[in-house]
Every structure is written in C-alpha cells, then in structure tokens.
C-alpha cells in the first residue's frame, strides 16, 4: 500500500529525514518508534502533505500513485488520514461541519452521493458514542476548549467517519490516561481490516499493548535503523533508545 524509498526531507534549512526506506503492505499495522527528534513527526507530515516540510529526495508511492504529487485534500480523498500529534483549534467551525464536509468530499471523490444531514448525524453520533464522546461535542467548534485527551479522541472520531485506507497516527497516545488510551485503541482496532493499513508512530510501547502491530520499525537519525516484530518494541522499552543511537551512527 505504502512504499517509501530513499526519502529525505527538511524543515527550514534543517535536514530531518535522510534516505528513509519503509514499506507497509495492505492489511498490516506497522509501528514506527524512535527517540525525540528522530524524524517521526516529520515522516507523518510528509505523508499528509504538510507545507512546513520540504521533500529533497526519494519517492513515496501509495496504492501505485505518486503521493507527493497530490495536494493534501487529494491525499485525504484517496484515503490517507493523519491523526495529528497536536490538533489545532478552529473557532467557529463546528465538529459536525468539519466531519460532514470532509466525508462528503470523500464520497464525491468516490462517485457516491452526499449523505444528508439526518443520515450524517446518525453516523457521527454512533461513532462518537463508541469513543465515549458526548454527542453535544459535535456542535462545538473544532477542538476549541478541548482537553488534550479530548482532542486525541476527536482525531480518532474523524478517522472513524472518514474510513481511510491508510491511517497514520502521530503520537496519538501522548496526553491520554489509560482509560482514554483503551478507548482510542478500540476505535483503531475496530477499523482494522485486510483492506486497510496503519502506521502507528509512538515514543512509548504502551500503546502497542492495545494496538498490536505486525511489524515494528525503529527510526533514528532520519532513517529506519531496525525492523522487527513486536518483541522489538518490548526490547526498546527495556533498554531505551540509547544503544540505538550508536547503531544509527555506525550505519551512516
């Protein structure tokens, strides 16, 4: 589903990703772990098409297309979703407006009819309930006055409504208590299917107790330095990232 080859990217003048290779086949859940500053969020932003990141080399193919050629909204319509690490607040735009406009843009792209207000509301309420969210938050402005945990749930709500093919979760566990973490994980797990793939970016392995990955990658120094199964995440938890920095340095 996703094939990244030799990806280099910078933020401003600063190179962050330096020749990153990563393949995520359809139907799998891959975790990307790594120390702070290793480039995890930059990778997520490249995939979503965030304007703050400039790609300097490499290719990203998504379902056979050149992902980097697509505008951010085209990526979303093609089924790429990024749950942001720091979701912003948008006063005056209600959650339900955001969800409905987004969903109907995706449906139009697929050649489907837009959902009317009633059907949409039913759908949005059902997903909100799954995440333990009060239905009144649909009428509130996007993330305005939300706690950190509420913002993360709201990201997952958007994911459930938009039903992406490839979901990238950028540190969705940060700022969540254990109950919220379980709710968020169950939302993600409900969406797992042979047609979808997930890229779960996290600093800690505790999220991976609840969203069990098929493959774990370690990102350090702007490239993938180790790839393994779930036990790699447990090993990282035990030993920390310190031993990897040496490995990454040696690999250069």
């Amino acid at each position: 589903m996703l094939e990244i080859q030799g990806l280099s990217a910078r933020v401003g003048e600063k190179p962050i990703l330096e020749g990153l290779d990563l393949v995520v086949p359809t139907g799998e859940v891959h975790a990307v772990m790594g120390p702070n500053g290793s480039g995890k969020s930059t990778l997520a932003k490249v995939l979503a098409g965030h304007p703050s990141v400039e790609v300097t080399a490499g290719t990203v193919r998504y379902l056979g297309q050149d992902l980097l050629e697509l505008d951010p909204e085209e990526r979303a319509r093609e089924g790429v979703f990024l749950a942001f690490q720091y979701p912003i607040e948008i006063p005056g735009v209600s959650n339900s407006t955001l969800l409905r406009e987004g969903l109907n843009a995706v449906r139009a792209h697929r050649g489907e009819k837009p959902l009317d207000a009633m059907d949409f509301l039913k759908l949005a309420r059902a997903h909100a309930a799954k995440l333990g969210m009060d239905p009144t938050m649909l009428g509130r402005s996007v993330n305005e006055g939300f706690s950190g945990g509420e913002k993360k749930r709201n990201e997952v709500l958007q994911m459930l409504v938009l039903e992406p093919r490839l979901a990238v979760l950028d540190e969705t566990d940060s700022g969540l208590d254990i109950d919220a973490l379980k709710v968020v994980a169950s939302g993600v797990n409900a969406l797992r299917s042979p047609e979808r793939a997930f890229l779960v970016i996290t600093h800690y392995q505790r999220l991976l107790d609840h969203i069990v990955p098929d493959v774990v990658h370690v990102l350090a120094g702007g490239r993938i330095v180790r790839t393994g199964d779930r036990s790699l995440a447990l090993e990282l938890e035990e030993k920390g990232y310190g031993w990897l920095d040496t490995t990454a340095g040696a690999a250069r």
């Binding site: 932003k45 304007p51 400039e54 951010p72 969903l103």
Partner: protein, 448 residues
C-alpha cells in the same frame, strides 16, 4: 488656505437646499425640523475629510448626487426584495426612493395582527419626537435627511407590546425617469413603549438604474425596559453610495441590540449613535462588513454613557478582499456621573488580499473613575494551520477558506438571535464569497 473639498460640495448643497420645503399640510414638527436642518447645513456645510470624524471617507464624489432629490419611481418592476429570498418573511413596509409604497407594503395585515401598535407614514405622527435622537450627535448627513426626507415609516409599539416575528422594512431605489445623479432620503422612526419587545429588520437595496446616493436616517426611542433587536442589512449594489445615520435613545433598563451588516458599495458610511440616558441601559452592537473590488465602508460609532450602571459592547468585524478599504472608529464617552459603566469594544479585520486595507481608531473618553472599559483590535489573514487541517480532512482549499471566513463572521451573525435570519445572512455571505478570488500567498501549498 482654501478648502477645496468643501467648496466642491457647497454649490451642490446650496442647490439641494433651494429645492422645495416640506409640502403644505405637513405637521408642524416636520416644517420646524426641516428649517432647523437647513439653517445648520448652511452654517456648517457637509463634513469633509478635514473633519476628524470623516477622515477615512472622501465625500467629494457625492457632491453632484446631492443637488437633486430622487423623484417617485417611474417603473414598477419586480421588487428587489423578491430576489433576496429572505426566509419566510415578506416585508411589512416597502419604501422606494424614500417614499412609502403602499401597494408593495402589507401594513394592514401587520396592524391586524398587532392590536394597539401603530405602523404608518411618518408624517401622520402628530406628536412624536421625530428628529430628537438624531439631533444629539447626528452630523451633516443626518441634517441633510432631516431637511429633505419626503416621507418615511413610523413604528409605535405600546407598553408591554411584543411583536410576533420580525418586522421587516425594505428601503429600495428605482429610476425616476430623469437620471441617476440624485439622492434618496429614506427615514425610519421606531418607538418602543415600556417593556415592549420587537425584532426589527431594516434592509437597504438599490436598483442599478435608480439614484446613485442614499442618505438614510433611522431613529430609535426606547422607553424603560424596552428591548429591541435591530438587524440592519445594507445590500445595495457595488456601484451605489450609501451614507446613513442610526441613533438610539435608551431609557432605564432598556436594551438595544443592533446587528449591522454591510455588503460593499462604492461608498458606505454609517454613523451609529447610542445614548444611554438612564441606569441599566444596555447597548449591544455587532457589526459585519464584507467588501471586495474597490468597495469602501466606514463605520463610525459613538456611545454616550451619561449615567451610572450602563453597559455597552461593540464587536465589529470586517472581511476585505481585492483592494477594498474599511475603517472603524469607535468612540465611547463615559460622562462624569456614569460610574459603574462597562464599555467594551473590539474591531477585527480579516484581509483576504494584499491590496485590502483597514483603519481602526478606538477612542475612549472616560470622565468617571469607577468604570470598566476595554478595547481591542486585530488585523489578520486566514490561519494557514487551520486551512491545512481542513485540507487534511479532504476539504478543498477554496471550500476551507470559505468555511474559515464564515467562522470569522459567525459571532456577529449569531447575535441576531433568530435562526432563519442568521442562515439568510450566512447565505448572503456565501453568495458574496463565490465571487471572491482568493489570492494564494507565495510559499503555500503541499510539501512536495
């Protein structure tokens, strides 16, 4: 030193004032009001940019339009209001070129539904203090309306009266068979008795073949405990010129909520005056102006806090595209006896293009020592982070921009407190935005 701009207006003004006095049979107050206004205009002239309060609006192009008052409409066409598709309301009163159009109005039906209330030709009022609210701070444009209005609409709500639904008044223009170099003088007088409550909708439209200048005046008298919500919509076409004065007198514990919405125009100048005369008076002004091309809108607000325990809030927002120009002056006067006054004011402008410009001038004049007054102003562009977030949720960039512009306007629109009318204003805004060509600043776009 010569006063070039003044001298260009004065011959036109002199010609205007040489026209007929109020017709025979006019009530005494009408004759007196016109005479006093003429005297004042001959002494002071009309404002020019040399007047500090008129700094941002060049009135010289208005000169040739002043000389002739628009005559009665020569053509009966479709009502411009029909094109508005305002939610389920038909206008109760329609005035064309400042003259009440009885055929297009439905005043009898309204009167039948509102026993005890009065609605009719302003010159039929024998004893109303017409002109009083405007006289305190009204400038040259109000005086010109005083001197020249033909007829207008009067509304009287008795004590305790509550209107059922909005009272919609439409002012429009139409060709008078001569030319467009003429001015219309719409007039509206509203009096709410003790404890009366009403929602007044005042709409200004203009026919492209009609007179080019509208000089409108509206006055509001609120008795103790009265509550008036006043939605004023200026929807004249882009080449038209609109100068207006709205003045309100607020008695004890009365509330005046004005939602002032302006969509463009070659020259738009609106002077708003609220006089908080007794304790507990409450003014709530929400303003929105939406400009494009070379539109020009200048809002000038004066609030007089004359006694203790008054509150005023002003939130005025501007959305400017292309080379449009906006100005906001907000003057809050807290008189020496007006202790415990709360006066708040904010002006926020959203610039959608680099050529748009806005001027903000807050003026707090406080002569009491125990008051809470604050003002704030911002000028900004659409938030790139917010645009990016909406795009990441599959929403196209143009649509994302429109959503953010509506979000910016939302606070003002919801102040109407009437869902259907709020939706109408959002729809008018959407129609206006469809024609907008958003500029992309350099450096935007996807990462690749």
């Amino acid at each position: 030193m010569t006063t070039a701009s003044a001298s260009r207006l004065e011959p036109h003004l002199a010609a205007a004032l040489a026209e007929d006095a109020p017709p025979a049979g006019s009530p005494a107050w009408r004759v007196d009001l016109a005479a006093a206004a003429r005297e004042r205009l001959l002494a002071d002239g009309l404002p020019t940019r040399r007047d500090e309060d008129h700094l941002y609006t060049d009135v010289r192009p208005l000169g040739p339009l002043l000389a002739r008052r628009a005559g009665p409409a020569r053509r009966a066409g479709p009502m411009p209001a029909d094109r508005l598709h305002l939610s389920p309301f038909a206008p109760e009163a329609v005035l064309v070129n400042g003259r009440l159009d009885l055929a297009a109005s439905r005043m009898d039906a309204w009167l039948a539904r509102h026993g005890g209330a009065w609605l009719g030709r302003i010159t039929s009022l024998a004893d109303a203090p017409v002109g009083r609210a405007l006289s305190t701070r009204g400038g040259g444009w109000a005086a010109l309306n005083d001197a020249r209005f033909v007829d207008g609409l009067g509304v009287r709500l008795p004590a305790g009266h509550k209107t059922a639904g909005p009272l919609v008044v439409v002012h429009t223009t139409a060709p008078d068979g001569i030319d467009r170099n003429a001015a219309a003088f719409p007039r509206l007088y509203v009096e709410a008795g003790e404890g009366a409550e009403a929602l007044l909708v005042e709409i200004h439209l203009a026919d492209e073949e009609g007179p080019d200048l509208v000089d409108a005046a509206t006055e509001i008298e609120l008795a103790p405990g009265a509550r008036l919500v006043h939605l004023r919509l200026q929807l004249q076409h882009g080449a038209s010129r609109h100068v207006a004065t709205t003045a309100a007198r607020l008695s004890r514990d009365s509330t005046y909520r004005l939602v002032d919405v302006t969509f463009g125009g070659a020259t738009h100048r609106h002077e708003i005056h609220a006089d908080l005369l007794e304790a507990g008076a409450d003014l709530d002004l929400s303003g929105l102006y939406v400009l494009r091309d070379t539109d020009h809108a200048d809002t000038h607000v004066t609030v007089d806090h004359r006694v203790a325990h008054g509150t005023s809030r002003q939130v005025v927002k501007g959305i400017l595209d292309d080379r449009a120009r906006g100005a906001f002056t907000g003057r809050v006067l807290v008189h020496p006896d007006a202790q415990q006054t709360s006066g708040r004011q904010a002006h926020h402008a959203l610039l959608l293009s680099e050529g748009a410009r806005v001027d903000t001038r807050p003026q707090l004049e406080i002569y009491a020592d125990d008051v809470q007054c604050a003002h704030g102003a911002t000028v900004g562009q659409l938030d790139e982070e917010a645009l990016g977030y909406l795009q990441s949720r599959a929403i196209g960039r143009e649509r994302a921009r429109a959503l953010l512009v509506h979000a910016f306007a939302h606070e003002v629109v919801q102040a109407i407190g009437h869902e259907a009318l709020a939706q109408d204003v959002h729809r008018l805004l959407a129609e206006r935005l469809e024609g907008a060509h958003f500029e992309d600043a350099p450096g935007e776009g996807p990462a690749s």
